[in-house]
């Protein structure tokens, strides 16, 4: 069942949700990009395709304090400093990003369960938003994601004059109750029309024909020594842009910070593109950028599927295509290894 909310009431809609739970919506970052901001009455919703950083931050934050040690006399006291999660709502998550949560879940919610992640996942409520204007960098359909039919607790479609909403889960139903007075039952014809329009665009996307044939479970031996890795990686700077804008990259480092009167143990995102990523006591097994570069793409296209029933660890959001300083990215890797170019 679909309900609609007129766009003239969009701010009331946000206010009604924010009155009960913390709400985050895409807003301008002041530099031409978008970022999820906590909603207050001054926050202007920004209608963009995607935020610069993905919403994985909500569940797997860029940095997070895990615990603290204090030294008192000859004792070390261990403090649990985790912040209790409260219910929060993220509005406007695109279908690709919604799918990325599933990919992260398989990592963080499999045994041993990451309780920090699990707690935030339980408290998070996702209002997804179907895509109406895909970009040339989009290729989510390659990974069987339908950008017109987003998952999430509530699915939303935005047309020129209204927001159409459909609850998919109990959490979603509960949230819909909060905005019942602002919405009305309606016919899904405008949504169907939008879907048809977008499907036409999808066929025209430059990356529409991207193929996955040569990737997936059990392809390690065929791909690992492919000579193409040399040329693909030759321009790579070894920065972490692709990993840090990626919605599915999930590597982190755990570090200690000496505060002068104790130690804070925190975790922060790490990147397999960094030279020190694999450094251990015995040395570093990945000495060149080629090896680090190969790791990133093999992980997404072969190793992760190996461990997760063939599911790829890429959702085709296109962020790395837009942001890589040398414009080398997963689409080019897929084409080259797939023998297309």
């Amino acid at each position: 069942m679909i309900r609609k909310c007129s766009l003239t009431k969009l701010n009331d809609f946000f206010a009604a949700i924010a009155g009960d739970k913390t709400l985050y919506i895409p807003a301008s970052d002041g530099a031409g990009g978008a970022v999820y901001k906590k909603w207050d009455s001054n926050t202007q919703y920004l209608d963009v395709l995607n935020t610069v950083k993905s919403p994985k931050d909500f569940f797997f934050p860029h940095t997070e304090d895990l615990m603290e040690f204090k030294v008192k006399g000859k004792n070390i006291e261990l403090l649990d400093i985790r912040q209790e999660s409260e219910d929060f709502v993220v509005f406007g998550v695109r279908p690709c990003d919604v799918k990325s949560f599933d990919i992260l879940d398989r990592v963080f919610l499999s045994e041993p369960v990451d309780s920090y992640y699990a707690s935030r996942r339980e408290h998070g409520i996702i209002i997804s938003l179907a895509c109406s204007k895909p970009s040339e960098t989009c290729f989510c359909t390659t990974f069987d994601i339908d950008p017109t039919e987003p998952e999430g607790d509530i699915s939303a479609w935005k047309t020129d004059d209204a927001l159409y909403l459909r609850a998919n889960t109990e959490k979603g139903e509960a949230l819909m109750a909060l905005v019942e007075h602002l919405t009305e039952e309606c016919d899904d014809a405008p949504v169907v029309a939008q879907k048809q329009n977008v499907k036409k665009i999808l066929d025209k996307l430059p990356l529409a024909g991207l193929k996955l044939d040569v990737f997936g479970k059990g392809k390690t031996e065929e791909l690992f020594d492919d000579p193409a890795w040399d040329t693909l990686s030759e321009a790579c700077l070894g920065c972490g842009t692709c990993t840090f804008v990626c919605p599915t990259c999930q590597c982190y480092d755990i570090k200690d910070f000496d505060t002068g009167n104790g130690v804070i143990r925190y975790r922060c995102w790490d990147s397999c593109m960094f030279s020190e990523f694999t450094k251990m006591a015995h040395g570093n097994p990945r000495l060149t950028q080629k090896e680090r570069f190969r790791q990133r793409f093999m992980h997404k296209l072969v190793y992760y599927p190996d461990n997760n029933d063939g599911l790829f660890s890429c959702v085709g959001c296109g962020r790395c295509l837009a942001k890589c300083p040398v414009s080398m990215n997963i689409a080019k890797v897929m084409k080259k290894l797939g023998g297309e170019k």
Binding site: E68, F257, T259, G260, N261, G262, I264
Partner: protein
């Protein structure tokens, strides 16, 4: 004496050959300067990397002063000339980022200038105290 008066933490990088000896002389002559000045001895003022200054602020300093031999008197001939350029640029950059320029200073103090050392520290401590706590270049983790 005022109770609970705000007392700034000052880090003073002093070169081994001139300024540290100047501090010694100030002590020997029983000249007063604030106990809030923590001296870090360095072989030469030129040893002070800009990141030392930033790290001092991170660790809770409210002001950072670098003291070296007078130009021309460097034990290593020219170290303090490099210091002068380096700190001029660093201080200007910190100011550019909106960090109070009164929190940083570079001063030449010779081994014979015990009085100048004490006067400089008194003056600098007063100047920093007037600004209050360093909020713009602090690391909140170090205040827990």
């Amino acid at each position: 004496m005022q109770v609970n008066k705000y007392r700034p933490l000052i880090v003073a990088f002093c070169c081994n050959w001139c300024s540290y000896a100047g501090a010694d002389l100030a002590g020997n002559n029983r000249l007063n300067y604030p106990a809030d000045v923590k001296i870090i001895r360095v072989p030469c003022s030129c040893r002070v990397n800009p990141s030392f200054v930033l790290r001092a602020f991170q660790r809770g300093a409210d002001g950072v002063i670098i003291c070296g031999c007078h130009p021309g008197d460097c034990h290593y001939t020219s170290g303090n000339y490099y210091t002068r350029r380096r700190m001029a640029l660093l201080f200007s950059m910190l100011d550019y980022l909106g960090i109070e320029r009164e929190r940083t200073r570079l001063e030449w103090v010779s081994a014979a200038e015990g009085a100048k050392f004490a006067a400089t520290m008194n003056d600098f401590a007063e100047q920093v105290a007037a600004l209050g706590e360093n909020k713009r270049l602090e690391d909140l983790r170090c205040k827990r």
